[in-house]
Amino acid sequence: MRGATTARTMLAPVALGVVAIALWQLLVVAFEVKPFLVPSPSDIAGAFTESFSHIVDAAKVTGLNALIGLVMGALTGIIVAIFANALRVMSQMLAPLVAALAVIPIVALAPVFYAMFGAAAHTGRQIIAAIAVFVPMYLNTLNGLRQVEPVHRDLMRSYAATAEQANRLLLLPGAVPYVLNGLKIGSSLAVISALIAEYFGGPANGLGKAITSAAAGSNYTGAWAYVLGAVLLGALFYGVTAGIEAWALRRRGGS
């Protein structure tokens, strides 16, 4: 029963994808669409396999930036949320700042960071990814920390538990589902931010830069092949964090 449901939820999107790609191929061939408009899926696949090793190398560079940004942003978001939950004043002070971070397109800061850290460093990209990850991480964690049941709060008080104990034994474990959800959202943001930040300069060995230079060199099919690489990188990040979430929730014992 469960297996059948899983198969159906897997199968439906796959079927849709196959149909969409077939339709795409058909339209491009039938109407002889020029590659600079839209190349056919088979051409993209060809370019992808041809420059596979280069795409993997570029994905490693962008992926590492995204990963470092994800870890930095996640840790900062969790730690700041713990303090903001303990001190109401702090969460009130931070609220406008977080709102600002959420609406500013962080990648717009990329040129500033390249000026700050030098055009040869990846630091700016990592910081941009970290800031992008920080927002959902902070908001989700704070929300999770505030989900404490009154009975548990009473219990901790009756045990005369310290703030550190209450955080470690009650608040943080209770916030785990929220933290992991934040991490899942943050993982895609980290990849997108690290990738787009490359458009604005810096070292030229990442996926984002590869997309822009291929397009600039009229190698449209190649650009699409790198875009495909970026899609796969994003899917990898999302898949891994979603997997961690599912595993952790199952391990908690149902609920």
Partner: protein
């Protein structure tokens, strides 16, 4: 009863809650009560009579507006910090990510008891509540009655001389409830702890208690205290005439009439 031997002394306690709109709710008015060491006292009354509030004041989960409460001769705050009481609520309040054993050990862990001693104690308690086979289960794998048993075991983890229980069986079906009452009687006889037990149920209060404190609402106050002195508390008591007399006495006290039980009734 001298003051030093009393488990809990409540004298002239008032509690006023301020609502957000600036109103006041008089939850308790001039409540005085003394609970002796090892005594089982039930608080009974309709919703809003302040029985849970009174228990929370003893537990130092809320503060009094007026009057004084001492627990084993200490302030409630000191008693809470010294872990002089164990507490159980209507909701079991187990931590869902911890196993049954880890839930029972929670207070011990917080107070720095080392792992081996924790395990010894949780082994004892698991045997006491008959859940040895469920030590490594998570709460969502347990029935309501089992969860409540774990919560009660947790409240006893540090061998407190005082147990505070706020309708711990309130959410259970009648069968489970009677079973749990029998277990609680056995546990209390073993540990010799004093108990303040908040309940809605007249038979439950009568079955368990040495004294039943009857309260009335608006403002919450003690209207009557019924003494019950059963020689033993077992299944036979539930069918005993003395038990029904106790039930009648508590019921008439609750309904504001003159308690007409033939014995063991004090009017204050």
């Amino acid at each position: 009863m001298s003051a030093t031997r009393a488990a809990v002394t409540i004298s002239g306690v008032d509690k006023v809650f301020r609502t957000r709109k600036g109103g006041e709710v008089h939850a308790l008015s001039d409540v005085s009560l003394e609970v002796a060491a090892g005594e089982f006292v039930s608080l009974i009354g309709p919703s809003g009579c302040g029985k849970s509030t009174l228990m929370r004041l003893v537990a130092d989960l809320d503060g009094v507006t007026g009057g004084e409460i001492s627990v084993f001769g200490k302030s409630v705050e000191q008693a809470r910090k010294d872990q002089d009481y164990g507490i159980a609520f209507q909701q079991a309040g187990l931590l869902p990510w911890r196993t049954v054993r880890a839930n029972i050990e929670l207070p011990l862990e917080i107070h720095g008891v080392e792992a081996r001693a924790r395990k010894e104690r949780s082994d004892e308690l698991l045997a006491l509540i008959g859940l040895e086979d469920f030590a490594d289960h998570h709460p969502d794998q347990l029935s309501g009655g089992m969860k409540q048993r774990v919560a009660i075991a947790r409240s006893m983890a540090e061998r407190p001389r005082l147990l505070l229980m706020d309708e711990p069986f309130g959410a259970l079906d009648e069968m489970t409830r009677e079973h749990m009452q029998n277990e609680l009687v056995a546990l209390c006889q073993e540990t010799g702890a004093a108990v303040i037990f908040v309940t809605h149920s007249i038979p439950e209060a009568v079955f368990l208690s040495d004294r039943v404190v009857v309260m009335s609402p608006r403002p919450g106050r003690i209207t009557d205290i019924i003494d019950l002195s059963f020689s033993s508390r077992d299944e036979e008591l539930r069918e005993d005439a003395a038990f029904y007399e106790g039930v009648t006495a508590v019921r008439s006290a609750l309904h504001g009439g003159v308690a007409d039980g033939p014995r063991g009734v004090e009017n204050r």
